[in-house]
């Protein structure tokens, strides 16, 4: 028996998960890793083209509007709001995971609800911004914004902006749908019957990843 105890301390000796993690959660991690490469490739393509351009539109002059503020020049304000909405929804998600560890159904449902509200708020902001830019004449293949040095810009700016924020927005959208499904499952007691709230953890990983990608979209499109 002493031998069995010694064997048990080795991760790769068999009989248990060497990563000490459930299969679905491990696969979620690997999916997110591959998704990191997808977003990474998008952002690096954007960086390469921007770097190869002699001049580029100034984000402070493109993203300067705020709902209801008319033509006021407010650089960075709206995107700050979007960033904080996503950070807050990430916090409510981690609180839902925390309640799941305790097996507290009510707590999970409450925090999942607020996470979904945060996701919807973010999507609404993005819809407003896209609509605003569209009415200013920007879309795939169309770019009304001049370069920072005053020359006429190529359509690269709009193409990359709409493709990358669109791909991110699609992730947020699917995240909201997945959150909604798990909220219903938690509410109807599916996880209680299973005896664990691991599904909330997996969904949480996806949601945090969406926030993580936004950190870099925010950085490379709006800040630098």
């Amino acid at each position: 028996m002493a031998q069995a105890a010694a064997v048990n301390t080795k991760w790769w000796s068999g009989g248990k998960s060497p990563f000490n993690v459930e299969y679905g959660k491990l696969m979620m991690w690997y999916f997110l890793m591959s998704d990191t490469f997808t977003f990474g490739a998008f952002l690096i393509a954007y960086g390469t083209v921007r770097m190869s351009s002699i001049s580029w539109p100034d984000p402070n002059h493109v993203f300067n509007a705020f709902p209801g503020a008319g033509h006021a020049h407010l650089p960075l304000v709206f995107v700050s709001l979007m960033t904080f909405i996503l950070i807050v929804s990430s916090v409510t998600m981690v609180l839902a995971v925390h309640e799941g560890h305790h097996g507290n159904r009510k707590g999970v449902v409450k925090w999942m609800f607020w996470t979904i509200i945060g996701g919807l708020a973010f999507l609404s902001c993005q819809a407003w911004e896209w609509n605003h830019l569209f009415h200013e004449g920007a879309w795939w293949g169309r770019n009304p914004f001049p370069n920072a040095d005053g020359t006429v810009a190529t359509t690269n700016f709009s193409n990359f902006f709409f493709t990358i924020t669109g791909f991110h927005g699609f992730h947020v959208f699917s995240g909201v749908i997945i959150n909604l499904i798990t909220l219903i499952m938690a509410q109807t007691g599916v996880f209680e019957k299973r005896g664990h709230y691991l599904m909330i953890e997996k969904v949480g990983l996806y949601w945090h990843f969406v926030d993580l990608v936004w950190v870099f979209v925010f950085l490379f499109f709006y800040l630098v």
């Binding site: 490739a41 190869s52 925010f218």
Partner: protein, 145 residues
């Protein structure tokens, strides 16, 4: 906490959920918010510097570098604390993090490529195309003739 069983596999609990972990969540939230606000402050600083035509290019580039490093710190906190990767065992962390090392090459190679294009564009002049004339081969001293 007892060992949980998932489909016959014995899995150890990652960490006992205590008030300590909740405190950690709030602390991380505070850190992320403060970093974001600091980034925004630097963003406004860059914006204000851009107002004058002869701004200090090196300083703007340095500030942008600082913002990028701060964002990487944010990414670390989100992955390590919110996604609990820091609580997983080393083997798992390495299989996630090690493949990401390829980004080091990815970013350097493509930024180099982009910069090279820019240099070529700056040199390009339709009135005076660059001539690639064959120069006389320098005479070798020694070697095969």
């Amino acid at each position: 906490m007892e060992h949980q069983t998932f489909g016959g596999e014995v899995t150890l609990p990652h960490h006992a959920p205590t008030d300590e972990s909740k405190k950690r969540i709030w602390k991380t939230t505070l850190i992320l918010s403060v970093i974001t606000m600091f980034e925004l402050a630097l963003g406004y600083l860059i914006y204000n510097m851009h107002q004058s035509p002869d701004y200090n290019h090196t300083l703007v580039l340095a500030l942008k570098g600082v913002i990028i490093i701060l964002s990487l710190a944010k990414a670390f906190y989100i992955v390590s604390i919110f996604m609990h990767l820091g609580d997983e065992i080393r083997n798992l962390i390495m299989t996630i993090v090690a493949p990401l090392m390829i980004f080091i090459w990815f970013i350097i190679a493509f930024m180099y490529e982009g910069n090279s294009w820019k240099t070529l564009r700056n040199k390009y002049n339709p009135q005076e195309p660059v001539k690639y004339e064959q120069t006389e081969t320098p005479s070798h001293e020694g070697g095969l003739k």
